[in-house]
Amino acid sequence: MNEPLTRSVLVIDDEIFIRDLLSDFFVKLQFGVVVARDGNAGIAEFRKSRFDVALVDLKMPGKSGIETLRELHQIHANTPVIVMTGYPTIDSSIEALRLGAYDYIIKPFKLQELKDVVDRAIKEQEIHVEIDSLREKVHTIEAELRQYRSAASERAREIGSLPGGAADHPPVKTVGIPRS
């Protein structure tokens, strides 16, 4: 099945074997792939371009995967970051949870399993974007409605204060927009 061409993944891993393996795998799936050999290089790539998902090895020389995850989230909090490690620990998995990692997968893993996680992460992100867009629309409509109600109330007060207007008559119970 053809995958959309627009999807992109950033792979941050100090092991060249893993970088090459994942790069080949995702290129075959028609992803745009960028690889980085350490946390700093990965963060620099992440600042330059928007990615649909980032894969970060936990144990790297220099900046750790956890620190890299923290910085990636500071740059683009909504991009899902999947942590990979051959050395799983309770502490690092809790830290990954606290920093909002999308998933924590243990090496060696099956490439199909990784693909499933990546697909799910991208799909969920697309849904979040859609929800945010709908929320924005709702807020806009609510703001317009408030303005309309405010204008209608103002207009009603103006009419009421005119000679022979509503102020000279018994009070009207409701003025405004009919509710459905």
Binding site: P88, I90, S93, D103, Y104, I106
Partner: protein, 138 residues
């Protein structure tokens, strides 16, 4: 409007329930307690909560399964797991179920309180910003 944050504590150990109840009640939280998962689900159906503190090991439902069921019904409700039996598997499970935090017993109460307060702040909608002066009133 009652402005106290509402906290649900789910733990089968009476000692822990009492300890957490006393600690958070003294800090102006409105608290309900449940000794098992079914009771927790019943309380969640009836009332609104701002955060759930959930023991991972409760007798009737696995804590992660309960977290998943809570997520299904209350997507945005913060869940903080506590456990005396930590493992990589349960921490990863918690991460995958979008649990907000994970603490190992014996829990540092100050750290737990900070996590609860952060979770409540994220969960509580900014109602004041939505209320418009002069808006329609019934």
């Amino acid at each position: 409007m009652d402005s106290k944050p509402r906290l649900l504590i789910v733990d089968d150990e009476l000692l822990i329930r009492d300890l957490l109840y006393d600690y958070f009640a003294a800090r102006d939280f409105d608290i309900a307690v449940a000794e098992n998962g079914q009771r927790a689900l019943t309380l969640l159906e009836k009332d609104r909560f701002d955060t759930v503190i959930l023991d991972l090991k409760i007798p009737d439902i696995d804590g992660l399964e309960l977290a998943e069921r809570i997520r299904a019904e209350h997507n945005d409700l913060p869940i903080i797991l506590i456990t005396g039996y930590p493992s990589v598997e349960s921490a990863i499970g918690a991460l995958r179920h979008r649990v907000d935090d994970y603490f190992i017993k014996p829990v540092n109460l100050t750290h737990l309180r900070r996590a609860v307060e952060a979770a409540v702040a994220r969960h509580t909608p900014p109602q004041a910003q939505l209320q418009q002066p002069g808006g329609s009133q019934t």
